[in-house]
Each structure stands twice: as structure tokens, then as C-alpha cells.
Amino acid sequence: MNTQLKLLGVLLRKDLRLFWPFAALTAGFTALWQFPAIVQQLGVVGGLVQIAIPLATIMLILVVFHEDSVVSVKHEWLTRPIPPMTMLAAKTVFVVVAILLPAVLGGILNGLFVGRPAGEAFISGVADGFGSGQLLIVVSVMAFAAMTAGMRQAIVAFLVGTAVLAVAATVASRVAGRSDGSAVSGSVWMIVRTVQLLLLSTALAVLWIQYRRLHGRAAWVLIGVVAVVGGAFLASMNRTREFGLQKRLSPDPTAEASVAISVMPGCFPARMLEAGGGLAAGAAADITPEMFLDEQRQRAGADAIAFAVRLVVDRIPEGGRLVLGRTALTYQTADGAMVSLGTGRSSAQWTTTASGLPARDQYWLLPKQDYQRLAAAAVTAHFDYSLSLLEPKASATFSADGQRKFHPGIGYCGAPFDRANGRVDVDCYRFGDQPGLFVARFEGQRDIEGRASSFPDFTPAALDFWGGQRHRVQLRATDNSAPRVQVTAYEGRVHFNRQIDVPGVLGGPTSSCPAP
């Protein structure tokens, strides 16, 4: 062991001798980048530094690995008494010292510089500088460097690989027809984490194969197999399958019974879409053209009917929240013919009905020809809602006085009160597994709240163990006294589908609910 450590030291010293100016520059920039306040003041230079850091990092890893290339037949270290795994260890230590450590130190110093508690500064510095995203990139570049013998070969391989990936991604997205649906239902982690795990495990396997010096093309074959299998898996994943998998991962499937929803009875508010894409004046004034994408409006054509459907939450467990994911609307005639309107657009916020129940509006466009066909037949509107019931896992209440403290289950939180602008900036940092949804509100005021992200993220804790996340919420203060803030971390309890059938095209028979 001592001999190996000594050898590692010899190799590390050699690389530091060769590359110390480049390494020092990269380390300096990386550390500087952890001080956003300083970088912002640098203006254009700051922008250039932002571009230079990833480039310098990648270049440094490549030159250090290529200096003692493992795939070359010309590098002298191959016939020296140097175990390949010791060489890999030396290169890894170099990367840690020159790239990861400066990021960690910079992060810690910046944390202290902006007044965070020492514990938070340390944890966030380590987790951000040494986080899973950072590690993934570094390990992937290391594997890439271990497969190429020189910079020219690496550039060619990179360009070819990028072109292949771009084509594959385009094909896969066309096959899968992906949109933001998975983000809405919080299942986007399945794609993201699958790609991350595939990349990480492949990169580690490639490093192992290359430094075991298993002759031949084993690493290339492995990459080919992973690309094909991974690509096929990703292409086969659509939003329905993703949500199906998420449902199976529900921690408490029986909780579904505790939720009751309905569609607001009565005719759906509706307006006509004019030839220019605007909406004709009508009773349903809250339906606006901006609710629909240009593409949707063009597809629906002139005189299409825009209508709103209100989902009402009739019952939900105390303290729980409902996340509305994708909602599909399909019309079915008595003779079995189907017209699918796809996924509806949701309103930005939950509202409250006159009877005080939470409600959410969703909007669809029905082409004129489809309406005429459906209106002539006995038809049922079939709604398929993807829902997630959330429960609070941890909560903390504190004054908006800017003091940062650790709150169990939540992390380090602080909320300075900006009196001049009448707002409170809630900022919480949590290490390890993250909540499905992070919500902040003023204590005792349920109607003023903010979410740290537009969509929930139900990544299982087992896949979320390394790294940290900062949750930021801006709350608008109603008066000038420093309020108290309550932050709540919600976790998914059950994910489920609920189907609701409504007779007629627009919420009732055509005679009573006609087109506008």
C-alpha cells in the first residue's frame, strides 16, 4: 500500500510539474465562480469566465489523461513499472485537486462571505462543488479522455458523438412525442435520473475497462450497447408510461380513497376562436388566446371552440395538497367513435369555489368540424386526470428578519424582508433527498404562498442522496411589519388516475349547452 501511495505521489508530482500553470488558472477561475456577487460585478469578463470554466475544465482533464494515454501504443508509461489503476488514481487525484477542490473551497468561502452559518457554508460548498452533477460531468470527461489517445482524436470523437446524439435525440423525441407533461406530473426524474445513472455507470465501467487494459474494443462495444439499450428505453418512455411507473412507486396507494374530485356541474364556459387566432367576444371572458400555444390554435383552425372545465376537489386529507398533472379529454360517441383533444392547458393557480372548495380550470380547443360531428350524436366527454396527493413532511416557522438557522427536515433557512420593495425572499438550503414540493407562505395566510418550483419533483430519496438544493420563494408582503414565514416540505403520498365522464360536448346536451 505504501509503495502504491508513493508511486501515486510520484505520478501526481509529475503531472503537477507539467500542468501547474493550467491547473492553477482553472482552479482560480473555478473558485472565483463560486462568488456570484463578485462575478456579476465583472460584467463582460464575468460572462467570458462563465464560458471559459467548462472549456478549461474539459481541456485540463483531456490533456492530463492524454499525457499518459492508456489507449496509445506510444506512451512510455505503458512499459514502466506503473500499475494502470495507480495511474488512474493519480489522474483522479489531480482532477480532484485542480477542479473539484477549488469549487468546494470557493463554495465554502462564498457561503461565509455572504453570511451563511458555518455549517451551511460547509455543507453547501461540499455538496455543490462535489455534487452529483459536477461528478457526473467530470467522470464522463475522464472516461472520454481514457478512450482517446490525443486532443485531435478527442475533438473528432466529440464532434461525431455530438452529431450522433443530436440525431438520436431528435428521432427519440419524435417517436416519444415528449412535451412538458412529465414535468407537470413530477415524473421527469425518471428520464433525467436514468440518463444520469446510465452515463455514470458507463463512464465508470469504461474507466475500469480501459485501465484494466483489456485489449480490444470492449469499451466501444459497451458504449454502443448502452446507447442502443438506453436510447430504446428513453424512446419507449412516454408520459403515460412514466406516470404509470410513478403510480407503482406510491408510498401509500390506499390514500387514493381519501380524495374526491368532480367536474363543476353545468355548461362549460366557452368562446369562439376567430380566423385570426383571437377569441370572439363572449360570456367566458376569462378564456384568453394566450392560454393556448400558437401551434394548438393553428391546428384547431378557424371557428374552433375554446372552453374551460373546472375541476373541484371535494375532499382531501387535512393538510394535504393535490397536484394536478396531465389531463386528457376524449369524446366518445354511442357507436364507439372517439375524438381526442389531448392534454388540456391548466390555469396557473388553484382557485376557490363559492362553497370554499379548491378548484382548477383547464382549457381545450375543439375544432369546428369535430364539434359539429359530436353535437349531432349522443356523446360523453371522458376526462382522465393524473393526480398526486401530497402530505406535509416537515414545516418550520420563523421571522422574516434575515437570520439563517437550521430547521430539522427543512434545512438551513432565512428570509430577509425587503421593506422598500415590499417583499420577502425566502431561501432554504437542504442537503440530500429533496422534498417533492417546497412551499412558503406567511404564517396564518393560506392564500398568499409561493412555490420554489413550478412543478413538483418526486425523485425517490434513494436517488437523491448526494447533493443539495437551494429552494427560493419570493413572497409579496401586504404591510410594512416584518411577517413570520412558514415553509413546508411536501412529499408525494400517492399518485393515481381518476376518470370522470360528463354527458354532452360542452358539459350537457347540445340543446342546453350550445356552442357559443
Binding site: V10, E76, T79, P81, P84
Partner: protein, 297 residues
């Protein structure tokens, strides 16, 4: 044998770099591997030091399967190649400091002596050295740990005569203690320094044997016959045959003595008036052997 290969074969796509090659290098030999550029010498040497894996056949190096050679074995094997990649930004002194730390059996005295003999400038980066200086630095690095086996791939290529002599004398200072396998596309470079020689042509081994016996069995023969003779079946050991009237010239690859040769000539071609069998240099032997192979193919 320090090195022994059996039917060693290596292909690069469709190109046969080394074809069914069986080689035996005895301990203590200075073994020259001669062949034109592209003959497969470098590929063979890379297989011997486990940089490349053979497609078939096997190679034993220091009694071990070459595919199993590991870091510990390179304490006893030195390898040097003309186009080897070095840590070019290290100075000569830093390079030797680095190498010294890798070998427990490093001979610092020998290093000092070789660096002095080769006049290596300690502060100059390796990348700024001339080709000759670079080769000398590599050779000093390969000799200073007193390897049991030294494999040198075209170490003299592109060197001026003076530097070539320095490198050769540095190398020969270890001969005997170290078995040396040295490749060259130009036999004249190493003639006089080798104990054994092997010729490679297009991935194949033409022959291998001690220099002494090789010199003894190759003769450049000139004969003048009584009458011009054509169409006779001649011994296969006569190669590169040229005729001009009653005069004939060829290389005898199985020469024993002149009386025996005269007997053979007269038995096949009739009475001969004149016969001369001149000893050949290694260079001429290699040229004759290569020409004969080309004609045979």
C-alpha cells in the same frame, strides 16, 4: 530463451502486420531484428511488451506469457522506441528524478555516468532536445535500472553517425549483462555489434541465426562455365541467380566450402573454368535474402 514466440500473428483490419512468427532470443544475446519499414518489427516488439495483444500464437518473455506482463515485470524490461511519447515539458533532470522514483533497483551511479557520457543538458525540457539527444536520454533512462532485457525499436533511425556511435557504445556497455533485442531497417547500423540476427519481410520471419553461422553459410558466388547452360533445375539454396553467357552469379545460402560448391556446380552445370565464393557483409546478406524473397513471391 529470454524471448520465445510461437506462430505469433497480428492483424490490423485486413492487413497482416505479423504472420505466424516464431522467434527465439537466447539469454545474453544482442539480437538484431532487421527488416524494411512496415515489415512488422514494431508490431512484434509491442506485442512482446504487452502494448498490443496478439491475435493468435503466443510469446514468452522472461519465461512469462507476454499478455501477462505487468508493472512488476517492467522492473526487468527496458523498452525504447524511436517515436515514443515522453513527458516533453519535463527537463532532463526532472525526467530522471521521475524515473528514479519508479525503480527500486535504479543505479544512480550508472545514470550519472551515462548522462555525463551523453552530455545531456539537465535543465533543457525533453521536448526541446534534438532527436539524437532525445534518444540518448531515453537510452540512459532504459539502461540505468539495469534491465535484464532491453527491447529497442529503431533506436538509431535518423541519428547522425557520431550520435549513432555514442548510442551504440552506451548500449553495448550493457551487452552480456542485459539481453538486447534491437530492431533496424538498416543492418549496417548495427553490424558488428550483434550476436544474432533475424530478418523480417512483410510480417514473416525469413530466418534467424547467430551472426557467425550466417556469415559462414552465405557466399556471393561467381562462376565461368565451359558452355552457357539454361533450363537446368538448380539447388534451392542458390538465390538471386544472374546469367550472362557462360558466366553466372548467385548467392549461395548453404555454403560449406569451395570444394563442395565446385562439386555441386559441376554436377548441375558441367565443367567450370572459374569459381569464386566471396564472404558477404550482413548488409549484403540481408539485401540478398530480401531480393530472393521478393522473387519467390
Amino acid at each position: 530463451m529470454i524471448i520465445q514466440t510461437q506462430e505469433l500473428t497480428k492483424k490490423f483490419w485486413r492487413h497482416d502486420a505479423v504472420r505466424g512468427l516464431s522467434l527465439a532470443v537466447p539469454e545474453g544475446a544482442t539480437y538484431a531484428l532487421v527488416g524494411a519499414n512496415g515489415a512488422g518489427k514494431s508490431t512484434l516488439m509491442r506485442m512482446l511488451v504487452n502494448i498490443l495483444a496478439p491475435d493468435s500464437g503466443s510469446a514468452q518473455v522472461l519465461g512469462m506469457d507476454s499478455r501477462r506482463l505487468g508493472p512488476a515485470d517492467f522492473q526487468r524490461i527496458g523498452y525504447l522506441s524511436e517515436n515514443q511519447e515522453l513527458p516533453d515539458r519535463l527537463s532532463v533532470a526532472q525526467y530522471f528524478e521521475y524515473l528514479r522514483a519508479l525503480y527500486p533497483n535504479w543505479d544512480a551511479g550508472l545514470e550519472r555516468q551515462l548522462r555525463a557520457d551523453f552530455e545531456l543538458p539537465p535543465t533543457r525540457p525533453l521536448g526541446k532536445l534534438s532527436h539524437g539527444m532525445r534518444m540518448k536520454a531515453m537510452l540512459a533512462g532504459a539502461l540505468s535500472f539495469r534491465p535484464k532485457l532491453l527491447i529497442l525499436d529503431e533506436p538509431l533511425s535518423g541519428l547522425d553517425p557520431l550520435v549513432r556511435d555514442e548510442v551504440m557504445s552506451g548500449m553495448l556497455s550493457q551487452a552480456g549483462e542485459t539481453t538486447i533485442l534491437i530492431s533496424s531497417h538498416e543492418i549496417a547500423e548495427i553490424e558488428g555489434a550483434t550476436t544474432h540476427v533475424a530478418f523480417m519481410v512483410r510480417g514473416r520471419l525469413l530466418f534467424q541465426e547467430p551472426v557467425e553461422s550466417l556469415g559462414a553459410r552465405f557466399r556471393d558466388v561467381t562462376v565461368t562455365l565451359e558452355f552457357p547452360v539454361t533450363g537446368q533445375v538448380l539447388p534451392s539454396s542458390w538465390v538471386n541467380i544472374q546469367r550472362e553467357g557462360p558466366m553466372m552469379r548467385f548467392t549461395d545460402t548453404a555454403f560449406v566450402d569451395e570444394a563442395n560448391l565446385r562439386q555441386q556446380v559441376e554436377a548441375k552445370l558441367g565443367r567450370c573454368h572459374f569459381l569464386e565464393a566471396s564472404a558477404m557483409s550482413l548488409r549484403d546478406i540481408s539485401k540478398a535474402a530480401m531480393r530472393a524473397t521478393r522473387e519467390a513471391e
